[in-house]
Symmetry: C2
Subunit: 375 residues, 2 copies
């Protein structure tokens, strides 16, 4: 993973190759059979597509099959899923999958327009609503329906900022309190600045291989126990209920089944808290709490490192940062480090099973991964 920041001045290629070279060096693999690149906005912001061949060339790996995979803010997680299928297909053994996003160097208006590419351009964007605005509707409805206060929800970004203090690659390494969240500038009512993830540049990468091949290279490879993707109706107006993401439920239900475990078996999780309320909803939709009671886990300290479900231990989207198309891959890389006991100050002691959840659009696409250490 690269450090995440805004104003890096670095190119997509520069960011991607840093992460990819780290992954190649760490894994010790001497070849790759294919390359998958997750990214959302390069066509719109950088006027650059064909990232597969571009990145393969930049890595000196031209020749291999290459793919760009896009699924809005879930691009990184969905790219991992596509790469897992490549390995399972038997056609490719060692697959490099990375994801990159560069959001800085553009105006807020440009990035705001870019984010709306995740929604329906013809039916929703013309109303003038922004991506934050749609999430604000969810927050308002969530607070209303379940009688949950903003104070309660604000515990989520507070936790993320606390955890990010331990992550040298995090974008926002600054402790904040609940009052800081509630008093930060209003972005889209009721969401305030500290309810929202920021804009940053970053890239992350992992190497995938069949178990027997991975064992030859890595001392402590991590097993992909499940990799799933599910979708939902693209737009909020098309759904009967907006305070749950059916795609999260579908993807995680299938993942638990594939892995043969349940939420109680999970030791660490990284969830998609692009906005504070989404972090709380993720705890519910993934089965860690009943609908409407996600904040109780926070009240009881269960999402902290010493709790039952240590969450967003590297800072999450809120504080580690959210280079949109790359975030899903950061999550996978972070959980892999946890299970390898290489997470540094972010380490959750004894973590053996980890889960990631990456969301594209307003819950329209969700990728879930369950990883576990290999004995």
């Amino acid at each position: 993973m690269t450090a995440i920041n805004a104003g890096s001045g670095r190119s997509l290629t520069d960011l991607f190759t840093e992460a990819a070279r780290q992954a190649l060096d760490d894994s010790g693999v001497d070849r790759i059979d294919s390359l998958y690149v997750g990214n959302m906005m390069s066509g719109f912001l950088q006027k650059q597509e064909h990232l597969g061949a571009l990145m393969a060339t930049s890595l000196g790996r031209e020749g291999v099959p290459t793919y760009k995979v896009e699924a809005a803010c879930a691009s990184g997680g969905v790219a991992v899923n596509a790469a897992v299928k490549a390995v399972l297909s038997g056609l490719e053994d060692i697959v490099l999958v990375g994801a990159v996003e560069k959001m800085s160097g553009y105006t807020t208006a440009e990035v705001t327009e870019g984010l709306m590419m995740a929604e329906d351009r013809l039916k929703v964007a013309p109303t003038g609503v922004t991506f934050v605005g749609l999430n604000a509707m969810i927050a308002r409805e969530y607070m209303h329906r379940y009688k949950v206060t903003h104070e309660s929800i604000a515990q989520f970004p507070v936790l993320c900022h606390e955890n990010a203090l331990n992550n040298p690659k995090a974008q926002f390494r600054k402790k904040v309190g609940i009052e800081d969240v509630l008093r930060s500038p209003l972005v889209a009512d009721p969401l305030r600045l500290l309810d929202c993830s920021g804009m940053g540049d970053g890239a992350a990468a992992v190497i995938l291989a069949p178990k027997d091949v991975a064992g030859k290279y890595a001392d402590s490879p991590v097993e992909v126990a499940a990799s799933t993707v599910a979708s939902d109706a693209l737009s909020l107006y098309q759904r009967p209920m907006i305070t749950t993401f059916e795609a999260s439920r579908r993807a995680s239900d299938r993942a638990y089944k594939l892995a043969g475990i349940g939420p109680n078996d999970v030791d660490v999780l990284e969830v998609h808290d692009a906005f504070s309320v989404l972090g709380v909803m993720a705890l519910e939709d993934l089965g860690f709490a009943e609908k409407g009671s996600g904040t109780k886990l926070l009240d009881e300290g269960e999402c902290a490192r010493e709790g039952r479900f240590p969450t967003n231990n590297f800072g999450g989207l809120k504080a580690r940062g959210h280079p949109v198309g790359a975030s899903g891959l950061y999550q996978v890389a972070e959980v892999a480090l946890q299970l390898k006991n290489e997470a540094g100050k972010c380490q959750v002691p004894g973590a053996e099973v980890g889960l990631t959840q990456s969301v594209g659009g307003i819950g329209s696409t969700v990728a879930v991964h369950i990883l576990q250490g290999m004995k």
Copy 2:
């Protein structure tokens, strides 16, 4: 496949769902397990990403895993390859893969800038060269190195226009002669208007499934005997030789090996003739002719329907049309129809084995498919 034309005024969704519904109806499948969407320029031209969830929703298939796959002008072919791996992974049985591009309704300057997204935005685009200009360099070098005349090369678009007369969905159903090509307006020396594919809107789709599943639905399913992707250094300046596409050689060598056949076993082919010279080079790089002698096949009539290697029987990129990110899927759909003996007036009698070649960028990514009828 939708008919291809410019100025359709139709949306990406409208185009895609027409093709997808045709594929679903033709195949008779009652469910899909995932959806792959190939597309190159939607982020840049339509300011729309997240085509996976958008198209699944439009088809009433929300819930399934969805993916957008991009590899410049090879997006359609590469999407098919990614979908083939999904089926081989064992995780999904029935996969809908479609591809769509909408290029009309924009200025030539906008589309020209969009096409350069296939090349290196930071190192090549600033020189001012256009995508056509880079292909013109190849044409000039090809003619010089192999002492081949423009007249000889112009046989390729003449053949495509001839074939397109039989295809009701083709964009340019007009017979042209060699003199017409040579006298058409200069676009980028030596390439003239009739050496170049045009801008159009279109979508195509196919359904993939394991053999036993396909047999349950289709009377005459077609076997994917090989599906390969290869890349090359992204930019022309990075290659020792520009008159051959190494990625074509790599992808087709592997495909022939996987299918256990050679070029002489191929009955029909659809190759990526975005510019006339590329059609000739494809014949060579895919093993149908020695390097520098592709035009001899044309001289001898071997690429015509009654020849040994009937080529671009639906009109190819030149005359069927080239909605860039969709063309690779048109090719696969066209060859599938040939092998099912459902190609109408484009039918090559008795065709049993077909090959497609789809090129992304200036030969930086190539997807090859070998299909054969199932007995």
